[in-house]
Amino acid sequence: MLPKDQLAVVLKEKFPDSFIEITDFRDMLTVHIRSEQALDLLRTLKTDPRFAFNFLADITAVDHLEMGGPARFAVVYHLLNQYEVQRIVVRAWVDEEQPSLPSAYPLWKTADWQEREVYDLFGIEFSGHPDLRRIMTPDDFQHHPLRKDYPLQGRGERSNFPVVKRRIGSKWQEAKSVQ
């Protein structure tokens, strides 16, 4: 893999509009890019023999509502080059109004369930995904729980179930309290 400065030069000439910067914190390189060209960057990192990041370890997202940044959401991709044992992180910044970016499923099949999880928990849509629906929360769950404006205790979803009562002899045995 190229060293950090050369990598910055190469990426700046390939993605002049969307490339933001490369940061290096505790030996972990992070490429910040805007969401429109994130898929092209991933394709370059996978197929270009200078980089050869053949393994996608993780896709996740961070909601920067309280922390600030170029946009509200950042979709984070962790890539690994298994031949030379190198890791790199790609952060695709996604705007708040219509959070959407192209899906990485054509490159790696592991993106399938991980992007569904990001959609479920953050509400970021992935265009071109084969089957984008909720994976962790129930199908009729209304909100996206991991956003910063959703409270930890939820909005009443956990107390919304029928109470089973049962009669033993002449006594009704009931549930204790509904929280």
Binding site: P151, L152, R155, E157, F161, R166, R167, K176
Partner: protein, 167 residues
Amino acid sequence: MGVERSGGVEWLTTTVDAFANWARKNSLWPMPFGTACCGIEFMAALASRHDLARFGAEAIRFSPRQSDLLVVAGRIPIKMMPVLTRIYQQMPEPKWVIAMGACASSGGVFDTYSVIQGIDNFLPVDVYIPGCPPRPEAFLDGVIKVQKLIKRDSLGHYKPPVEETAA
């Protein structure tokens, strides 16, 4: 049984009751609804060191129609709660429910949007076993408490069982 309705033959029913309770408590067939870490300690209670078979509860039946003790071992999230309610309703009487562990009893460590804060909010529970996870010995203690509950039971309680779900 129609015997107790005729009145005046309580000595017969108490003997029959005692016999029935003795038979029921020594042959509990658990239905393990193990979701998380407590399920592993439940499995450890079934293994050879802490042997649950000594209490007659060796026949683990994963079908609710064939079991009489529902052991809810682990945290119950909102997606799993309708499943648990349905399993409970499918079990025939008489049945007992053990809430094993802190998460089934009260939500445990997880005071979040997705975990039911104790199954006793929606199901009637007979015995609670605290611990995170409870040791297998604690689970065996819980089974013994269920056996004590059964000893005080009476056949007259189940005539006919009425179960309703409030909306």
